[in-house]
């Protein structure tokens, strides 16, 4: 079912590279206008989008569920087939910056849209005949790279508490479903007498755990604001180049937000659904210059609060006391060491920097990536490493699992919905076979987070756990 989702309604931040701070959230699909309508109203509180003519633009507000105004927006309505995707399209033009855009997107998703897959608008445009054939291969490539990426970054292949929790939830759901199914298949051997009451308790416990995970996402600063990332290193090591390369990445969504202080510019970069708030710092070096010293102090301060430290080392120069200083900033932060200028004659080897890190970093040895900002090499590897550090969807703070990925949150919300339906079926006294419909839906959604396929899990479980048959 997942493969053909062309009829449903999708939404994403349409990536507009502009420094005006204005962003567009695009919604496409059969119900896109209805979805936009449900989150939008005019100044006088009227709902007008459903009846709006095609190619019109409307001024009003997006409100959150409690009726609080989120942002002042313009919404344009384009009806099929005269739109980019040839479907009904609504675009919300907002100007609240990146954080606000994420909030609005969240509202749109809650209103019934689904987060678009990378390349999905284009794919739809193509399938609906809006893009000519010469672009077909480009679309296929986008999907292909997404595929490779999904496989590499799925939680199932990584370790971590979230992955464990999801697997535990899945295991329990599968067990209960297999029990019901084996009883349905072999009613004379396996009885369901008194079972619904037991299941009710178990479903309630599952529901509680899923909802708790969802709440962590809601309170999760990282999901809302992005990963606080600080680039450190000696002057001229390539820090600004790194920022520029990251910004220049085609797949990165870039906008700008003014930082909390005027002297630091924060850049917002989105790597496949995770936001990075990157702060470039002044180079770290021992200096007498008062102004520069202040910059260095600032860098230390940022590094202390960072979720991620990118430490750029100039491989063409020997390591010195300034590097010791930089390394000590890492502590037990998540960090990546970039061995930059790897295209030049290098003085610092990977082995050496590893030893150096063991000695001075004061925590686990960070991943090391060889880069050349000049040639733009090593950036993909860097992205991969960052994704591994964060993309499994959890940041554990104080041992708590926190959901950081908006897709994961979306999936968990569907799990919660399915489990609620199971509960309702039990309470309504429906036949046991009805429970497994929604239990399996929940199971599949959890699988989307861990990247595991369902296939014949159920049949396997039935045979391995329950004694069937003649």
């Amino acid at each position: 079912m997942e493969i053909d989702r062309n009829t449903d309604t999708i939404a994403a931040v349409a990536t507009a590279l502009s420094d005006s701070g204005i962003g567009i959230i695009r919604i496409s699909g059969r119900d896109s206008i209805a979805v936009a309508d449900s989150v939008f109203q005019t100044k006088s509180g009227r709902k007008i989008l459903l009846d709006a003519e095609s190619h019109t633009i409307h001024y009003g507000f997006i409100k959150d569920t409690s009726g609080e105004i989120l942002d002042e927006v313009m919404v344009s309505v384009m009806r099929a087939p005269k739109s980019y995707t040839a479907e009904n399209v609504a675009e919300i033009n907002c100007h609240g910056g990146v954080l606000m855009m994420r909030k609005i997107l969240q509202r749109v998703l809650e209103a019934g849209a689904r987060m678009a897959e990378p390349g999905e608008f284009t794919k739809r445009a193509f399938l609906n005949g809006r893009i000519d054939l010469s672009k077909a291969e480009a679309v296929m490539d986008i999907i292909h790279s997404q595929n490779e990426f999904a496989l590499a970054s799925s939680v199932g292949q990584l370790r971590g508490k979230l992955s464990e929790q999801i697997k535990e939830l899945r295991g329990e759901i599968l067990y209960e479903t297999a029990f019901i199914e084996s009883a349905l298949d072999d009613p004379e051997h396996i009885s369901l007498e008194g079972y619904p009451e037991k299941l009710l308790g178990r479903v309630e416990s599952l529901l509680e755990r899923v909802n708790r995970l969802i709440q962590t996402a809601d309170s999760g600063r990282i999901l809302k604001e992005g990963i606080r990332t600080v680039i450190i290193g000696k002057p001229n090591a390539g820090k600004s180049s790194l920022l520029n390369v990251l910004l220049g990445e085609e797949r990165a969504i870039v906008t700008e937000i003014a930082g909390t202080t005027r002297d630091v510019l924060e850049e917002y970069i989105s790597l496949h659904g995770i936001g990075l708030r990157v702060t470039d710092t002044a180079g770290i070096r021992d200096t007498e210059d008062r102004i520069e010293r202040m910059g260095v102090e600032k860098a230390r301060e940022y590094a202390q609060k960072a979720d991620l430290i990118l430490y750029v080392v100039d491989a063409s120069l020997p390591l010195d006391g300034d590097d010791v200083e930089s390394m000590s900033l890492i502590g037990d932060h998540r960090a990546v060491i970039l061995l930059n200028k790897s295209d030049l004659e290098s003085v610092v080897s990977e082995e050496e920097i590893r030893k150096f890190a063991a000695e001075h970093a004061g925590g686990p040895i960070p991943d090391i990536v060889k880069t050349s900002m000049r040639e733009g090499s090593g950036i993909e590897e860097l992205e991969r490493v960052i994704r591994n550090l964060f993309f499994q969807g959890e940041i554990s703070s104080n041992g708590e699992v926190v959901i950081t990925n908006i897709r994961h949150k979306e999936a968990l919300q569907r799990v919660s919905k399915s489990l609620t339906l199971v509960k309702k079926s039990i309470e309504d006294g429906m036949g046991e076979d009805f429970y497994s419909i929604d239990l399996m839906d929940a199971y599949r959604e959890l699988g989307r987070i861990t990247g595991e396929q369902v296939e014949d899990d159920l049949v396997e479980e039935i045979f391995s756990k329950f004694c069937m048959g003649k």
């Binding site: 077909a136 009613p187 419909i437």
Partner: protein, 644 residues
């Protein structure tokens, strides 16, 4: 040397449950058909359990009947006990199961075959398939094409299509402990030559195994130590063409007893003498009907296992010991059976045994059940890697219909997962890498709320009619039923009852909450504690409406059943219908037979290999192949769209 040479349309090889349906379908569609069997006395033999139907298998039989198959009618003629399973659960999992009089079942089916026009029965072992190369037409790929079959005696039957329904007979061997015989089931002659001919044609074979428990002499059993199991009071027929009144009859009982720790001890102590545990059996056995050895080993913490003692027929003393199939040696079998209450003095008539046989991995077939590599060659039943009489019969029918459609130049019958269990069965067989004999289970059907046994006629009758296996009269009956259901549902949704005293009293009497405002009758039916029948008390217009529509004061029971289910489960049904809509879109996207997957850029290597191996007919089928990801399917979709 003079030889017999005949010309027919279709050759069906094997006269088990698949072969019978295949042959009948072809002959009924007017094609000259020969059905080969190693023994005419074993037509429609039931070599294992003495029943038809059961959970999800009951669905299969009803679907088969809706399409114009024979099994449902035949069991209606010959059952000796009948039971609707899972009645306490939702309607989707209600399933019919009947105990058969095995000998009568076989005889009745033989009679149908013998009296079928255009059908000839031939007792002979087919040893060779005859074929020729056919140049690729549209596909550009050369394919083999079937031209005939050759028997052991050298007779040649030229044909346009052949259907392999060889069941468990190919290179069969039976194992009972250390004793091995090279026979088919029940000591019948095995077919030892055909495998080589198939291999020469490039068809890949593999070995599967299955097993059956002992049969005992009824007089040696003590039924006072067992629990009696009765049939249903009101018997529901399998066939939509059988008048329920005509089959209400005296039924026989089955009996329930249990194994115990002593049984398990004996088994454990003798495991080294089991051919499976000793490694003599190489074939893969089914996990869903495990031998008692398997149960004891795999579920070691279970203190007892159920044993059902079922009669094999009215005119025999043989009793089938369900739940205790085994391939242990004779002496161990006897010792182990005698630990079971009621079986202390049992005499074994036939020993339990395991059987091993050649079959195929059905990924070599299209969903029409035609071989991808050989035009005109079809196959059905256990030969395709399934298990069970019902699974076999359904495949036989589909293979027979599609052989006929092919010869007649008509559209093939392709059933998908959203319209039938048969569709699920065939799709699973041809799309998945099954590693054991495949049995239908209700959990395999993702749209099972729609695929109920009670509406198989509404789902499939019309297809059977278009094919030509359902009569005009049967079709007319269905059209009426359909229209009455819709009319009655519409009425129940539109008639509203007020919150007056009569209604409130009625609701109170049935433990139902009082009405606050007026409600439709349909809304009341949705309440778990109420039903169509109960609402009769306050449904004043019902009789007059029924009279005006169907000419009687009540709608027929089959109409009421549908009305009630469709109203009560409307929400769930709607949800599944929406899922089906999505599903169908992908099924409709066909992949050209000659697609060169190497030319499709951006496919992952694993997906490319799997797609080349399976050659799915639609994007829907492609998406179900393990190793093909949603992104691969998207890539394929875009490729196909841009190369139209």
């Amino acid at each position: 040397m003079p030889e017999i040479r005949e010309k027919v349309d279709v050759c069906v090889i094997g006269a088990g449950h698949a072969g019978c349906e295949a042959a009948l379908a072809c002959a009924r569609l007017g094609l000259e058909t020969v059905i080969f069997t190693v023994s005419v006395d074993s037509i429609a033999l039931m070599p294992c359990n003495p029943n038809v139907g059961g959970s999800s298998k009951g669905h299969l039989v009803r679907e088969l009947d809706a399409l114009g198959g024979e099994m449902g009618k035949n069991i209606d003629k010959t059952f000796i006990q009948s039971k609707m399973l899972n009645v306490s659960k939702g309607p989707a999992v209600h399933s019919l199961r009947a105990q058969a009089d095995k000998a009568e079942y076989s005889r009745a089916m033989r009679k149908v075959l013998e009296n079928q026009e255009h059908l000839v029965i031939k007792q002979s072992e087919v040893c060779e398939l005859l074929w020729e190369w056919q140049e690729g037409e549209d596909s550009g790929r050369d394919r083999k094409k079937i031209t005939g079959v050759k028997t052991y005696t050298g007779a040649v039957y030229e044909c346009k299509a052949a259907i392999l329904c060889t069941g468990t007979y190919l290179k069969a061997r039976c194992l009972c402990g250390e004793a091995i015989t090279y026979t088919g089931p029940n000591g019948l002659q095995a077919a030892t030559h055909l495998s080589d001919s198939l291999r020469e044609m490039g068809i890949q074979l593999r070995r599967f195994k299955t097993g059956t428990p002992a049969r005992m002499d009824r007089r040696s059993l003590d039924f006072s130590r067992m629990e009696e199991q009765f049939g249903d009071e009101r018997i529901v027929p399998f066939s939509f063409s059988t008048d329920p009144e005509s089959i209400q009859k005296e039924q026989v009982s089955c009996w329930l007893t249990y194994t115990n720790e002593r049984t398990h001890e004996i088994i454990r102590a003798n495991l080294d003498r089991s051919p499976i545990y000793a490694g003599i059996i190489e074939g893969t056995g089914p996990r869903y009907c495990p031998s008692i050895e398997d149960k004891v080993v795999k579920f070691a913490d279970k203190e007892r296992h159920q044993v059902f003692i079922e009669p094999e027929g009215l005119h025999t003393n043989e009793m089938y010991v369900s739940g205790m199939s085994s391939s242990l040696p004779e002496d161990v079998q006897l010792a182990m059976y005698r630990t079971v209450p009621g079986l202390e003095n049992c005499r074994i008539v036939r020993n339990a045994y395991a059987i091993e046989y050649d079959c195929i991995n059905a990924k070599q077939l299209y969903p029409t059940l035609e071989f991808k590599a050989v035009k005109g060659l079809f196959s059905g039943g256990q030969f395709n890697g399934s298990s069970g009489y019902e699974e076999a019969a359904c495949q036989g029918l589909v293979a027979g219909i599609n052989a006929a459609m092919w010869i007649l130049g008509r559209e093939p019958l392709l059933l998908d997962r959203s319209e039938s269990y048969i569709g699920v069965l065939i799709d699973d067989l041809v799309t998945k890498d099954n590693r054991e004999p495949y049995r239908m289970m209700t959990s395999r059907a993702e749209y099972r709320l729609l695929l109920r046994q009670d509406n198989a006629d509404l789902r499939l009758r019309e297809k059977g009619y278009r094919i030509g296996l359902i009569t005009e009269e049967q079709m007319e009956h269905l059209r009426k039923k359909e229209s009455w259901i819709q009319q009655e549902i519409a009425r129940l949704k539109s008639v509203r009852v007020g919150a007056n005293e009569t209604v409130q009293n009625f609701l109170e009497a049935h433990g139902s909450a009082p009405l606050k405002t007026a409600a439709s009758l349909a809304e009341l039916i949705c309440r778990p504690e109420l039903s169509y029948g109960i609402l009769g008390e306050i449904d004043e217009g019902r009789e007059a409406f029924a009279r005006s529509v169907c000419g009687s004061k009540d709608f027929p029971a089959e109409v009421i059943e549908q009305v009630e289910i469709e109203i009560k489960y409307e929400g769930y049904i709607e949800r599944q219908l929406r899922q089906v809509e999505q599903f169908k879109r992908m099924e409709k996207k066909k992949i050209p037979e000659d697609l060169d997957y190497d030319q499709v850029p951006s496919l992952r290597l694993e997906a490319r290999q799997k797609l080349k191996e399976f050659r799915p007919i639609s994007l829907g089928q492609a998406s179900r192949i393990s190793g093909v990801s949603p992104a691969d399917v998207s890539v394929l979709l875009i490729y196909l769209e841009s190369h139209k």
